[in-house]
Symmetry: D2
Amino acid sequence: MATVAFIGLGNMGGPMAANLIKAGMTVTVFDLNPQAVAALTDQGALSAKTACGAAASADYVISMLPAGKHVQSIYMGDDHNKGLLDVVGKNTLLIDCSTIDAATAQIVGAKAAEKGIEFMDAPVSGGTAGAAAGTLTFICGGSDAAYAQAQTVLTVMGANIFHAGQVGAGQIAKICNNMLLSVLMVGTSESLQLGIDNGLDPKVLSDIMKVSSGGNWTLEKYNPCPNVMENVPSSKGYQGGFMVDLMVKDLGLSQQAALGSNSSTPMGALARSLYVNHARQGHGRLDFSSIFEQFANQNKK
Amino acid sequence: MATVAFIGLGNMGGPMAANLIKAGMTVTVFDLNPQAVAALTDQGALSAKTACGAAASADYVISMLPAGKHVQSIYMGDDHNKGLLDVVGKNTLLIDCSTIDAATAQIVGAKAAEKGIEFMDAPVSGGTAGAAAGTLTFICGGSDAAYAQAQTVLTVMGANIFHAGQVGAGQIAKICNNMLLSVLMVGTSESLQLGIDNGLDPKVLSDIMKVSSGGNWTLEKYNPCPNVMENVPSSKGYQGGFMVDLMVKDLGLSQQAALGSNSSTPMGALARSLYVNHARQGHGRLDFSSIFEQFANQNKK
Amino acid sequence: MATVAFIGLGNMGGPMAANLIKAGMTVTVFDLNPQAVAALTDQGALSAKTACGAAASADYVISMLPAGKHVQSIYMGDDHNKGLLDVVGKNTLLIDCSTIDAATAQIVGAKAAEKGIEFMDAPVSGGTAGAAAGTLTFICGGSDAAYAQAQTVLTVMGANIFHAGQVGAGQIAKICNNMLLSVLMVGTSESLQLGIDNGLDPKVLSDIMKVSSGGNWTLEKYNPCPNVMENVPSSKGYQGGFMVDLMVKDLGLSQQAALGSNSSTPMGALARSLYVNHARQGHGRLDFSSIFEQFANQNKK
Amino acid sequence: MATVAFIGLGNMGGPMAANLIKAGMTVTVFDLNPQAVAALTDQGALSAKTACGAAASADYVISMLPAGKHVQSIYMGDDHNKGLLDVVGKNTLLIDCSTIDAATAQIVGAKAAEKGIEFMDAPVSGGTAGAAAGTLTFICGGSDAAYAQAQTVLTVMGANIFHAGQVGAGQIAKICNNMLLSVLMVGTSESLQLGIDNGLDPKVLSDIMKVSSGGNWTLEKYNPCPNVMENVPSSKGYQGGFMVDLMVKDLGLSQQAALGSNSSTPMGALARSLYVNHARQGHGRLDFSSIFEQFANQNKK
């Protein structure tokens, strides 16, 4: 069985590592938070005092970190510490599952390539529920060989695994998708409210649009109007799901990419502005479908 | 068999009427254009010199006209002419399939109700191909009784028939859907181009987003990026399909409704501005997926 | 001295009529609200039981009404009542100071022209303070002769009088100006907040931009950031000034015009969406510079 | 007289350095382009083989470079070269006039502060004409002492000198201003075209709005509609002035700042999208007022 080093045991990383253990793999974990480490060692993980210590003899290194700066310093080291690239062998496959800017993924990937080490970015979607259930979606950027080799671990943690292109392509594909998702969500919200304001039942309108040319994922799975669908955040006070603050982060990454490539994304840029305003009004921890409330009938004249 | 009066024999109305004839119904047609009338009488239609003449003894009156002012004057008459509401009996069901503003539909519907006549708005989607094939979508606004009675004729012309609510609701549901469609199209276009600008293959990116949370009708059926899908307008020089000018018309109706109901539709309003600019640059007769070209790599630095 | 009929004695019309009285003119007033009438008769006005009664022998008729439908019915009559155009003579100059859609102004103007009567639209800006002080701005649409003749009364009520073009042009110029004003206000607000978020003093930034290429009326006269300027609504809890609800109305008229002329106004359309959202959140009666709060630091992470 | 090192002799830097020479200062120049250097030595400058060589004994170092990465490497050095901070003394005042991201300015400023050297960012506006005439605007970020000391050289090159705050504040204030400028330009363009589309004379409308609440710098100095003002780019085929590509750059910097500070700038983000589209359509080298053409009547239906 494969040996895996898992770096970063937050809300997502913890349950992902647990699924690897359940599958019988030898998993050595590292996190700065001792409670997060203890939760995994209780389930059978080994632990290490440093990321490099965890990674030294692993077949796979998987990282799940908050932002590009953390990824860069863990892999490439800094003034005080060695990085993973300084300690792992050429047979180790490095898989970063963090959602970060593609530029950082490419910097790390290029450094790894210099040393003959395979690195892949593989950001996920599916949330903490998907992490626990092992049904995440992984969008991978890396060589064909790396992608093939990664199946061993990714299929344990996820249900859908895509190969978007070379290193960095996973990040780009994910933020393109999430930017589009935000546009679907805002567009669906304002369309439903326009219907409501003109006397339509949002359930009837949703049913019509869902099977018409307005059909999209938010109508199918995640209707933002309360009480149109059961068991979605909009019907539970916008609790759970994918937080506004995380959508703001992903929209920021998409705009970062658009600045770098001189791309025009008027809808994505507008969605970001609306989501930032929504977060600044105190709704950052609600589900991102709560943007519906910006349009709804709160104080209609 | 039902007797039908059909008013308005344009690119849509002509083939719709033809399908009623093929189904064995007695169809009396009216249009100001004698060639359009001749094309239908060649197929077995009767003709009348006026709309009122065509409608006088029909079980169903179906109209397919360019704009609200035509609908209002045909049904309610004007300084010089009687309207359909002045001549039809209480057993005649009036079905207006034009895409017009909901306010006019409601005015006509209210006048019909005063006289005890059933009126239904039933705007269509599916284009000239759907009209010819009898596979249109009808979105109906009217009473339950009218909706039930209309099945006799609508099922001959269409494959999907929805009941959106009372009179006017068909128009509202259609423009909500088409506004959302325009947002899907612009959002998908800019997301694909952002991917392309950052090195992704649009086909790979489309495949990923189609089955992810960015999934929507345009990715599924109508990809705007040339050569990602076969047999869609984007792969045929943006010929055929649903013209930019028609999307501009529908977006105008959506904004008209939003002004009337004091609704905010930032994405829909932005889509309208982008489509108007596109039309003004001379692209009004291209398919609406050609908005992709506003973002594409034409003269990238 | 001129005899004037004044129709519509609301927050604006009342003080406007009062200034005509103070200037020594014979003013006959009409309003549905008896208290509004009494306030003017106390100051020396005559009153009439109907608008037509007030207008019958006047040199000038001035109207100040809420919306196009009121203007049309007062001037053109309805099923039950004669209109002003049925009772005034060819020497009477009709001046409508309401802010309404240009299309209605043109309909009334065309009907007046048929009867050989001069009609002018002359919407105002300057608010209730300007109405009381006699310092309003009038933007006029009408013939050169009408414009010249109107000076007698307009100079009593206003300080700036513009001739925008033929009938309806006053309305168009006003809504172009107010749409641009809304864009200046939103753009200035987000620029100031971007500076604040990056450590700048909004007063220093305002001083720099005011004399640079970002200079505009809102920086000069009406800074939206609290405590940058004295005696503006932003420094008084956004009380007073020009209400959000009124800006929403004017932005609606601008979009109405844009739909009619197939014009693209992406900034104006976006401003309308933001202002409608702001109003729906309960801020409709605040000054329109309160849009700044949509961007401000309320719950910044 | 002061001794000055001038680094970067492009379209802006060249004439700026020339003005210092004319004022009698001893100016040592450096640029990678020998022709640019020769043009200055012909006017009396000394030259050096490296930036460090030019700077070694100067009272002032002034740099004018294309982007943040150039500024960072000139001041802080790289793997192969020393930086200016390694060679200048504590009495030398460093003034970077480039328009770059504030973050880089702050990194350089912090490094300078560590060494006890004063550094100031002082981006300019006014274009090549202002550089030649010595009428530039400088927006400075730095200590009060640095700002006071800089007057000696800045007043020779510019007419308006502002102190925006600490290091980096000059960059922030400039991009806030230029973002607002882009909003004024787009908003004015669409407002003028809305007027034109509804029959107004753009000159009359401009005259009215200029002195009303729509008044702004673009109406005052830089009307985007051809033939409303003389001697502006719009009346000369949009030649000269401030290029679309440069506005795209500045809008990119503004969005970069907005991402960093979690700010919402819906108008600025929309303006960027419209300008990027405009550039991608091949208009990047036209004056930025050419955005008017996106709205104009090219192919109106």
